[in-house]
Assembly symmetry: C2
Amino acid sequence: MHVSINSLIKQGDLEALAKVLNTLSPFEIADLIANKSEEDRSLLFSLLSPSLASQTFDYLSLHLQRSLLHTLPTMQAVSLLKDLPPDDRTHFLQELPRGVIEAWVKLLPPDERKLTLKLLGYPIGSVGRLMTPDYLAVKMEWTIEEVLDHIRAYGHDSETIDVIYVVDDTAKLLDDIKLKDFLFIPRHCKVRDIADNRFVALSVYNDDEMAIEAFKEHHRSVLPVVDEKGILLGIVTIDDVLRLSNQEATEDIQHIGGVAALREPYMQVPFFELMRKRAGWLVVLFLGEMLTATVMVYFEDEITKAVVLALFLPLIISSGGNAGSQASTLVIRAMALGEVKLRDGWKVVEREIFSGLFLGAILGAVGFFRIAIWSLFSNVYGEHSFAIALTIGLALVGVILWGTLSGAILPLILVRIGVDPAKSSAPLVATLVDVTGLIIYFLIAMVTLKGTLL
Amino acid sequence: MHVSINSLIKQGDLEALAKVLNTLSPFEIADLIANKSEEDRSLLFSLLSPSLASQTFDYLSLHLQRSLLHTLPTMQAVSLLKDLPPDDRTHFLQELPRGVIEAWVKLLPPDERKLTLKLLGYPIGSVGRLMTPDYLAVKMEWTIEEVLDHIRAYGHDSETIDVIYVVDDTAKLLDDIKLKDFLFIPRHCKVRDIADNRFVALSVYNDDEMAIEAFKEHHRSVLPVVDEKGILLGIVTIDDVLRLSNQEATEDIQHIGGVAALREPYMQVPFFELMRKRAGWLVVLFLGEMLTATVMVYFEDEITKAVVLALFLPLIISSGGNAGSQASTLVIRAMALGEVKLRDGWKVVEREIFSGLFLGAILGAVGFFRIAIWSLFSNVYGEHSFAIALTIGLALVGVILWGTLSGAILPLILVRIGVDPAKSSAPLVATLVDVTGLIIYFLIAMVTLKGTLL
């Protein structure tokens, strides 16, 4: 099928193309045009019926939506943007430059323009940016018959009718009732008869990570959004939350890898944008690590006397770094998932002290015996090989304990001072552990090798 | 309220406790008992009405479910397990030891036992393990009236009735129709009249990551599951997919941090279990990094002659490591999200060669000028400071280019040979980059410092 569409494009047989395209589902078309050139994409799109075009548009990735709107005639572009569900429109617009947002919003019909500006007025990263005002609300006094009539009349415009909301005259949310519950009772009953006045709602100013938590905890597919007075403003559906949850996980992973969050898929990010996101962290890390060179100057004498110490430098440094990144990854993720709260701080520290000692003891023992046994067969570490083995073993315990502790404590401190640890722990832990690891190593060597090599 | 419950527990006033508890929602009770001791937890639970108990049980975390079933009388435990939705029961059982699973399954009523064994028969990590057979299916010839009667009769047992499935006499899936679509047409019409014979289905043997993809792509809240003949076997709901997606992200993050995936929340993992998951990786990394000590022996002469080279060792090593972890994190996540496929390999490599050169040039320049300018004011790097600055600058370019390239290529190679890169790239990249980084550094130094220091 794809082949025939390619050949139809080549032949320029637009009539046949339109015919084939309009038999496909929106998802199939979205999938098809994702792999086409920008030019073909806008050609194919212009052949779709208006309703198919808007459904297909909603299935495209943010990146493709943008490139498509750019190439289509303004009239068609505005019409696509108008037909997007309000929450998806917010999602599309919110990351564009301010001037571009204004230009698009100006072209929308007055009602949609007002709504769009209202949704964009909520803070970035808030529940307000996720919600859509397309829901169904009924009153307590209505009969089930009236409710079903209401659903028939307005259900088409609602993003979901799986849950119907009950509000009072001031639009205050009183209850949420599943559509299926309406089907199981006689038509003349009132909404009041099945209401239990119990509901879970998101606040419009809540952080969107709280929305993810709420959906996970409450096993719901849609949740209502209210303002501080309890007035129903909109709903958030779980498909947007799944998308958001994936996006946040990607950002957290990129931060751990030392990259500022990319807004677009890896292959689509423009090269210099990618470099900006990466060079920033790399330079910060590099400047931090330069401290290692500064610290090393103080131990130049020791290295001159005992060059053997330099041989183990990379091993010591990297072990401390690995232990630190284990601890910080565990603590940061546990905090992101709400498993660890700030008040658990001491318990975490206690746990990591024991972890650090335990892991340090294992690696220290491996390091000690590796050198001690090796020295039985080779003279590579000279006559003081036992003292060297002891130095390395003890340094590993110290560096790993310290790395583990810093990795656990630093994220806690960052949360305490109001900084997101997922965004900034990695470089801090790395620098801290490397610089202090060196000092620990050489201080231990100055004691254990005193009178022999130093 | 929590305070009063605590005091009621202390007073041992079980009657009053039962009264208070049974006015709460399942979620509120789940939240409440999560923070109680094991003993109080099972006391509170035994006071709940059977239906409230089973609803509450479904809201508890896996960890709490397990500890609770352990302490409750067997009869009550079996009844809770029986009342769990089949998909949640699979989730609960599947990570228990084999003997424990068998013991529980034996206690279930015959129907539930058969069903449970069937679901547990699908491979771990497959869609079969996510699905529930509690769905509603209708026939093409049925009238809307008959469909609504069917929903009223059986809808209570279905996990969701937002989507109704149309099957033929062999249970082959023919269509999926939203409940709301039934509400908008006359009662005497047939299902056939609104069917479009178009649906998206998961295969029961699909990898569960494909389920996450499908839900993200198709904007659905529930998807049907079929076997290789298209026979409808069950449904997967999006709330389970959200939970799964979070869990996979956590595992990926833990792997990047060099920890084997934890099955339980950080604070709940037993200490020695946590150590096992961490020590394994740390020891593997350590053994890999020991190669650095082996390599360094070959350059002992160079260090003895030019101790200054040792001063920059940590800086060089860590810069290569950082560049490598940036690249591997980006590529691994992009592959996990399906943004990068194996066939894009060369494009990725090309992109990362340019990235490595660009980033290397920036850090190389910073390193060069830092040393060159510093030397104007200080004699810390001796008389050959310009040659040293050049050495460090060039080594940074080489090490960062190499780190970036290895970080990008290694995950691709792992995918090619059928290994999940998220699970094993981090340690390989770290070891590879550190060991080869050293070699690059010293080889460059042997050229640039020839005739001066070496």
